[in-house]
């Protein structure tokens, strides 16, 4: 059964759209990442113009994040104060990022800079995470009881403005989460992706939050950033396709529920191994785009007639 999309102006298979939404929602519910990195190329592959794919994808991420976060709320695995602090930092960071992006694009070659830093970043984060989580997994398998340190004292704990984050079991200064939020917001504004991939590892390793709480909190925070993006896109470029969004959402909300359930049954270290593999896979995909000879070196973009 095909569906004509009024904004994208293409006709696509409904089941394919529901399937894409489902896969992305699944990953989002399981790992607490948005999934924009996956949805844009997949939609582009079936013929949806990139601008519509990006804008509509963000609307679908709102839906699957809400679906996922509600599943996490039932387990009390959402740290709302932490989410709000990260969000506050994120808004400031993305404002700065948009400004930097404008300067970079005026200077030219912004694409290359963005793609290279993306590959580098994801590569490092993914590799470190894989190494750490595999080591933890080995230890658990050998029967060595994991060290139950409440948290390590580091430079993070010497800062002022301390606040209690009950769900995460943390009593730390609000400055590090604000900074992390700002940094991720900055990156996502410059790179045009949600930034869940950087946010999730940063919350686990830099803030020392428990993996299970990280997923819900990340989703909680993503709802607001993607909701903002959706409205921005629909106002500035009219590229949100509700018909497309409906099909994606139908798959996405169900996928998020399934992903959340499966994620809850996995151990924290197993989850981290899978997430690390996913991060590396995305990194390799972007790198391949840069290194492999493309089938078609030319691409066409329509420009609106004046």
């Amino acid at each position: 059964m095909t569906l004509y999309l009024p904004i994208a102006e293409v006709s696509v298979n409904v089941y394919l759209l529901v399937g894409i939404g489902g896969i992305v929602g699944f990953l989002s519910g399981m790992f607490g990442v948005g999934g924009g990195f996956l949805i844009t190329p997949l939609l582009f592959f079936i013929g949806v113009p990139p601008a519509v794919a990006v804008a509509t994808g963000s609307n679908q991420v709102v839906a699957s994040s809400i679906s996922g976060v509600l599943a996490q709320f039932k387990r009390k695995a959402v740290d709302v104060p932490m989410g709000l602090v990260l969000l506050a930092g994120g808004l400031a960071g993305s404002g700065f990022g948009i400004w930097v992006f404008a300067i970079l694009s005026a200077a030219g070659q912004v694409d290359l800079f963005v793609q290279l830093s993306y590959v580098l970043f994801l590569g490092i984060v993914g590799a470190l995470m894989l190494q750490e989580s595999l080591r933890t997994m080995m230890k658990t398998r050998k029967g060595v009881p994991p060290l139950r340190r409440a948290h390590q004292h580091s430079w993070v704990h010497g800062m002022p403005l301390k606040m209690k984050f009950r769900a995460s079991g943390l009593y730390i200064s609000v400055i590090p989460p604000l900074m992390i939020g700002a940094f991720v917001g900055f990156l996502s504004a410059v790179m045009g992706v949600g930034g869940g991939f950087i946010m999730v590892p940063a919350m686990i390793y830099l803030l020392g939050m428990p993996t299970k709480v990280v997923i819900g909190t990340s989703l909680f925070q993503i709802i607001f950033t993607t909701a903002f993006t959706t409205v921005m896109h629909s106002v500035t470029s009219q590229t949100v396709d509700l018909m497309l969004a409906l099909a994606l959402i139908a798959g996405g909300v169900v996928g998020a529920q399934i992903g959340a359930r499966i994620g809850m049954r996995l151990r924290a270290d197993q989850l981290r191994v899978l997430l690390a593999l996913l991060v590396l896979a995305v990194c390799i995909r972007v790198a391949m785009d840069l290194l492999l000879t493309p089938d078609e070196a030319f691409s066409i973009t329509a420009v609106a007639l004046p």
């Binding site: 059964m1 095909t2 569906l3 004509y4 009024p6 904004i7 102006e9 293409v10 006709s11 609307n59 679908q60 709102v62 839906a63 699957s64 809400i66 679906s67 509600l70 599943a71 039932k74 694409d111 290359l112 793609q115 909701a227 959706t230 409205v231 921005m232 896109h233 629909s234 106002v235 009219q238 949100v240 396709d241 509700l242 018909m243 969004a245 409906l246 959402i249 139908a250 996405g252 909300v253 169900v254 998020a256 529920q257 359930r261 785009d289 840069l290 290194l291 492999l292 000879t293 493309p294 078609e296 070196a297 030319f298 691409s299 066409i300 973009t301 329509a302 420009v303 609106a304 007639l305």
Partner: protein, 252 residues
């Protein structure tokens, strides 16, 4: 001078065209609804003439269907320091979003270069790209790529010998419109040629419009963008909540 010449010219025109086209279209409008999956239009007609069929050169029929024009940017990726990136681009002033040509005989035999230039019949002629040679080296490659990509998408097509012509008088052709159709006025042109020269031409229009829900969504997105954006969020929130409520009842 011109004033009294004009009626004379008008009288002269029908005399000049010994063969004229009478044409019909199976439909004059196409409605794009949610389940729109491409359409087919039948172009049929006859050649009207006062005198017997000329015997020297055979009659040819060329039919073109053309969608609304848009401006385009065509980019090329090049390897630079081992990395593939967009390094060159050209801007095409106007290119049709859809272009189909059907003819009763191979185009080479039906149409001369000059007539093609005058009436812009073949696909490369329908594209207007002025000054692209200044924008990038080997700018011809960009236009070739444009044709290649759009042909692969089914947007541009050339089907020679697909117009059925009976007794040099009756003709018909089916033109397939793809599922990915752009809204706008589509121009149907019919040319009669002999010995490469255009003997008569006729133009008709087909209105391609979104209808029903498609139209409503498209209009709201453009006329009430802020409300539309919030509506999209409400839909997302409702769906997310519904799925969660549904799954919390199912134990598994």
């Amino acid at each position: 001078m011109i004033r009294w010449l004009a009626p004379l010219l008008f009288c002269a025109l029908p005399l000049q065209a010994a063969e004229t086209i009478v044409v019909g279209l199976s439909q004059s409008s196409v409605s794009i609804t949610a389940d729109f999956d491409g359409s087919e239009i039948l172009v049929y007609g006859a050649v009207k003439r006062e005198s017997p069929i000329p015997t020297e050169e055979p009659l040819r029929v060329i039919i073109t269907v053309q969608g609304p024009d848009t401006a385009l940017t065509v980019r090329r990726k090049d390897r630079h320091f081992g990395i593939w990136q967009n390094r060159a681009a050209i801007t095409v002033d106007r290119a049709p979003s859809f272009y189909a040509i059907a003819s009763s005989a191979p185009l080479r035999e039906s149409l001369s270069e000059t007539e093609d230039l005058r009436h812009r019949i073949t696909i490369p002629r329908a594209i207007r790209a002025v000054g692209i040679s200044a924008e990038a080296e080997r700018s011809g490659d960009f236009l070739e790529a444009l044709l290649r990509i759009r042909r692969a998408e089914g947007r541009y097509s050339l089907r020679e010998s697909s117009v059925a012509l009976t007794e040099q008088t009756l003709f018909r052709a089916d033109i397939a419109l793809p599922a990915a159709l752009t809204e706008g006025d589509y121009k149907v042109r019919i040319f009669l040629t002999r010995d490469g020269r255009v003997v008569d031409r006729m133009e008709r229009a087909i209105w391609v419009r979104k209808a029903g829900l498609e139209r409503f969504l498209y209009q709201s997105a453009h006329e009430q963008p802020l409300l539309y954006g919030f509506a999209a969020l409400i839909v997302a929130a409702a769906a997310g909540w519904a799925a969660s409520a549904l799954f919390s009842r199912v134990r598994w």
